[in-house]
Amino acid sequence: MSLYQMQKFLFAINRDSEVQRQFRANPATLLSRYELTPEEHQAITTHDIGLLFVLGANGQLLMHFAAFLGMPWADYIAAMREGVKRHGPVRAGVYHMTTGMDEKVAGV
């Protein structure tokens, strides 16, 4: 797993408007700079927030990528829950899901 590289991409796109522009223009070219697994690559290009969460992306990085993609907060929370439902528990890192699938603690 190249979690570090995937998070490095998230770090770059969150803070650099030029990286954001390149991602919008040609994601494949931009992502070629990072040593990603096919699964990570696909999760990024298909905007699969749930899978990125399961792969272990730090939530403080993923939260802003979701906002960049235009996802409202409730949809972003739901996407992470859906990711765990589809792919199983988070595989790495410290951002996990400990609540039940239908347990919406913040009401969303």
């Binding site: 803070r15 829950r81 603690v105 969303v108």
Partner: protein, 274 residues
């Protein structure tokens, strides 16, 4: 001069960004407590505000992650987040590079620090400033403790950082205020967002108010992670303030507000001599 004000406050982005989702009365009371802290801070006539924060990959990343970093610039930018998401306008915040440098040099006598001549503030600093110095008219000196990317500095090193800050503040002629900002228990940016362990928070705040060094340092990261979530690692910021102020704490406000994803806290600490 010396330290003239010490306190802690929550910084979750929902505090400004998701007000519409919260119970209006709870949000209003918490914001009111924040504004009241701003008045108490102002009354001490500080020349500079040191903010001990736990940033979230705005500047520091796992390619080169300092346990502790101090800003050393004459101005900073923020927020790094989309202003419409955080609902705080992007602006320039004054710093004081010369004062930073004097503080850093003294702190380095006992703590190894990274310094940063460039720093973009994220919600961890911008949310407190939005309430405490909304005109951005007080020079800010940012201090960061890595609470995001383990391995993290042990709690006793966060205490040592606070002691170093106090010693450094006491050796400059400026009047220094210090604010620690972090969550207590919380699980932000996960599907658990909004989960808050109120009993754990109240026990932690009791130890903090008593400024009980041994009890504050007795937490292990393993137990904190289990009981207080990955956001609980940010207790390091509160611990640094206790070490700097040395006095008894007073919790002015505490209430869990789930859409803000944290037990919303405002607390002052008396500045004791020894």
């Amino acid at each position: 001069m010396s330290l003239v004000f010490a306190g802690v406050a929550s910084h979750a982005p929902g505090i400004t960004g998701r007000v519409a989702l919260a119970d209006p009365i709870a949000a209003q009371e918490f914001h009111g407590a924040y504004h009241a802290m701003a008045e108490r801070l102002k009354a001490t006539r500080p020349d500079a505000l040191v903010i001990v924060a736990a940033e979230h990959f705005a500047n520091f990343f796992m390619n080169n992650m300092p346990s502790f970093a101090v800003g050393m610039a004459d101005h900073y930018e923020g927020p790094i987040e989309d202003p419409t998401w955080l609902r705080i306008e992007r602006t320039t915040i004054p710093g004081d590079a010369a004062l930073s440098r004097r503080l850093i040099v003294e702190m380095m006598q006992s703590v190894d620090l990274a310094y940063a001549e460039e720093w973009k503030f994220d919600h961890g600093i911008m949310v407190p400033l939005h309430f405490l110095t909304p005109q951005y008219d007080l020079p800010v000196i940012p201090v960061n403790i890595n609470c995001q990317g383990p391995p993290l500095a042990p709690l006793h090193r966060a205490w040592a950082l606070g002691e170093a800050l106090r010693r450094a503040a006491d050796r400059v002629e400026q009047r220094i205020a210090i604010i620690g900002t972090g969550g207590i228990s919380h699980w932000p940016a996960t599907p658990d967002s909004g989960k808050i362990n109120e009993a754990w928070d109240r026990e932690f705040l009791a130890r903090w108010q008593a400024n009980d060094r041994a009890a504050l340092l007795a937490y292990t990261d393993e137990a904190t992670y289990r009981d207080a979530g990955q956001g609980g690692f940010e207790i390091r910021t509160f611990i640094a303030i206790a070490a700097a102020a040395r006095g008894q704490g007073a919790v002015e406000h505490y209430r869990p507000i789930p859409p803000f994803a944290v037990g919303c806290t405002i607390a002052d600490m008396e500045i004791a001599e020894d």
